[in-house]
Point group: C2
Chain length 114, copies 2
DNA sequence: CTATAATACTACTATATAGTAATATAATTA
DNA sequence: TAATTATATTACTATATAGTAGTATTATAG
């Protein structure tokens, strides 16, 4: 990573920025089980129409989802399953950290009653 | 990922948010080769002192770096090498995407002179 | 062609935060 | 103790963007 140029690093940062919003992760979760149109994503996530459209556009521009119009509606599909690997990595890391913190609290507790 | 609760998903989003800033990735790059103090990170990255301190604090709170004071200065170390794996994954994905776009442009070019 | 339904876009507000200057804090040295 | 050095904190400005209401666009049905 240290050999990455500033420009490349900026692109990596931008990619993470796309994934750094709860609503967008919820949209991605909604798409995980398969292609969905905007209305379906709205139902699943509870987000507003304009908001879902905007987030899907951002995800499409980042190459994370693909848009394929069908009739009057627009279906979106996960184009980049990598994101789920990323999320799982982060998730397991967060779990590990919580366990460590929990153990530290236990050790502090032990010290109170020697 | 679809089975993740909203709360867990929010934590994942927060983790990505920490990594979604160019300056913070630069700070992490500076630390990749080993423990550094704030002044050293300032020199390597060219960022201001208050700014570096702030970013390091954010990284420490996220459990990505560790702080260990030594005398009058504070040294920081990568605590979570996972971030470099994440960055490499994203980076290779971005490269793949650029190649695809390049190929599409070439195909368009072919069509101009049949 | 008109009406309807689904999606996209525009303009706006509210909020979060990166960067910075000034200051505070803490450790070392004279 | 006073001066110095390194880091942290505070207060502020500027900028980016999430969410939303209203509107525009596009495709289908009648």
């Amino acid at each position: 990573m240290s050999q990455l140029s500033t420009a490349a690093l900026a692109q990596v940062a931008d990619y993470f920025k796309v994934l750094s919003e709860l609503s967008r992760l919820q949209v991605l979760c909604a798409l995980k089980s398969g292609s969905k149109n905007v209305s379906e994503v709205m139902e699943i996530t509870g987000l507003g129409q304009a908001n879902v459209s905007k987030h899907l556009k951002i995800l499409a521009q980042a190459g994370i989802v693909l848009r394929h119009p069908k009739g009057v509606s627009a279906y979106y599909t996960i184009a980049d399953p990598l994101i789920f690997d990323l999320c799982e990595l982060v998730c397991s890391r967060l779990e590990t950290r919580l366990q460590e913190q929990s153990q530290q609290l236990q050790q502090l507790d032990m010290l109170r009653q020697p």
